[in-house]
Amino acid sequence: MEILRNLWRRKVRTSLTVIGIVMGIFALTTMGAMAEHFDALLAGGIAYYGNTVQVADANSSSGFGGGYMDLSTLSQIQRVAGVAAVSPGVFDTAKPGQASVVSMGVPDFIGNLDPNWNRYSRLKLSLAGGRWVGDGSRLEVDLGSSFAAEFHMKVGDTIALPVRPSDAQPGFVNHRFTVVGILNPTLTAPDSGAYVSLHDAQMIDGDSLPTALLGHVDPYQLITGAVVYAEPGINLDALAARINAQVPTVKATKPSTLVSAFRSGGAVFTFMTTAAALLALIIGGLSVVNTMLMSVSERVREIGLKKAIGARTRHILTEFLAEAALIGLIGGVVGYLLGLVLTTLLNGSNPSGGLFLVTPGLTALAIGFAVALGAIAGLLPAIRAARMDPVRALRAQ
């Protein structure tokens, strides 16, 4: 109580100092929430791509497809030593023709549900409700959590896929799908997906084939890529190299290349959080040091008195440290709550679920950091107070 009253004695000064910390912790919370969001996204990517080999057509420009492969290629890949399973992949954008806006997440997509996924992948998918789309199902879809939230879908609703763009061409085709299942959030790519059977994914893909090709190719023989799962103990990079050597029409990407790409992306966000924390450290810390130094110099006689009546160095040190830590705590809680409110509002206004993820770890970090910051910044003034000579302090003017 005495600590609160001491702080309250200098309302303006205490408030200004607290605001300094609030700003720092607010920045830390919002930047941290963004970093947590991307960390989760990237962790999912590392978990998934780290134990699969992504295969695309040899002429495609990236490991994520872009060209077409023939379905029959799968059996050639299957024969490569060390391959446990190969799944076809057919992926398309869920919102064709939409101007590509700056999106810091995974854009909504439509893809075939990989029946091998949960058996082999380290990143597991599960249903929040409904059932899985089967191999033979037609016009049924399982929606990722963000996808479902964006279109306010629940099991039993219907949705036209792909989503019709506002400036749709006259020949635009889509199909009504029944939502049969909603996935639990994974905080990563599958949340933005609409999963249909391979047949339906090929049908949608066939609709978007260039006019020149229509009638010349069978869309049900085309896939946009393949996912290879290895037998236990197989080195995936070596497996990718073997696939490239034995199946010349495809290009298998080494998982380590993808994982390191994700990791370097993660490093950027870690840097952002660290920078925000440093900002908090500088702004908040210096104002706490200043406030506490002023507080100590104003209360020299009080310190002298306390020492005269039996307070030891440790007592004085603790009292001033507690005061500084309390400034940190108040600033930390307020800054964190402001950050939480802002990120919640921004997430709410973003149809696909938002860019911020406030985890319990981030909460503990933000508030713990603020308290530690206060205490560390208060250390120098507190030591100065605790070391004071009682006689000089008592007679100070």
Partner: protein, 242 residues
């Protein structure tokens, strides 16, 4: 055995490369239950003597014995513990904490001595009642008069049940009438609970109401007399001790 014995107490300061002899070989004894006044002109060493005897300051030479314990041999922790358990202080400017109520100010020393809080609170209430402040316990210092504030400070000096109370001009900031009242209060406590008082004052009329008057002059013991009967000039004693 005296409760307090000062032996050849000496304190030198260096100020602007000049050695100032604030206290020069003062030797005296204070018996349990005495009420002694220390008088002398400004700069005579009264406060320095009190600071050394109250274990707030270490002397340059000489010894301070509290119940025959040589306090010079104790570390800062033990000296702080002795201050909180054995010694009470009353200051000229009261030195109450402005953010604490009267009773919280009285209880402050117990925070550092680790005494039982509940028993302490009862004792604090009792002390404030004795001081005539039963109605003012929850008031902050700013809401009290000078005399009331000093009574709170006296109660604070007594909360740890000390055997020795040091007062540095405790009546210096109040009017004559209040000073009389405060002195009567301290004398009554001295009589009733046998607490030893050593009070620094420049007011000879107030000093005359003590059992004993110790005169300091230029840091030396100039005279030491029992009120009513002269003990005799003690300069000889001081010189003899050197």
């Amino acid at each position: 055995m005296p409760t307090l014995r000062l032996e050849g107490l000496t304190k030198h300061y260096v100020r602007a490369s000049q050695v100032v002899r604030a206290l020069d070989a003062v030797t005296l004894e204070i018996q349990q239950g005495e009420f002694a006044a220390v008088v002398g002109r400004s700069g005579s060493g009264k406060t320095t003597m009190l600071d050394c005897a109250g274990l707030l300051m270490r002397p340059t030479a000489g010894r301070v014995l509290l119940d025959a314990v040589d306090t010079g041999r104790l570390g800062e922790r033990e000296r702080a513990a002795l201050r909180s358990r054995r010694i009470g202080f009353i200051f000229q400017e009261f030195n109450l904490l402005p953010t604490l109520s009267a009773i919280e100010n009285v209880l402050l020393p117990l925070r550092y001595s680790g005494a039982d809080r509940r028993a302490g609170r009862r004792r604090a209430e009792m002390l404030l009642e004795e001081m005539g402040l039963a109605e003012r316990m929850g008031h902050r210092p700013a809401e009290l008069s000078g005399g009331q504030q000093q009574r709170v400070a006296i109660a604070r000096s007594l909360i740890g049940e000390p055997t020795l109370v040091f007062g540095d001009e405790p009546m210096g900031e109040v009017d004559t009438e209040t000073a009389e009242m405060l002195l009567s209060l301290m004398r009554r406590i001295n009589r009733e609970s046998r607490v030893t008082f050593l009070i620094v004052t420049h007011d000879l009329d107030l000093a005359a109401r003590a059992d004993r008057i110790i005169h300091l002059h230029d840091g030396r013991l100039a005279a030491d007399e029992a009120v009513g009967r002269a003990v005799g000039p003690c300069a000889a004693l001081a010189v003899g001790a050197r």
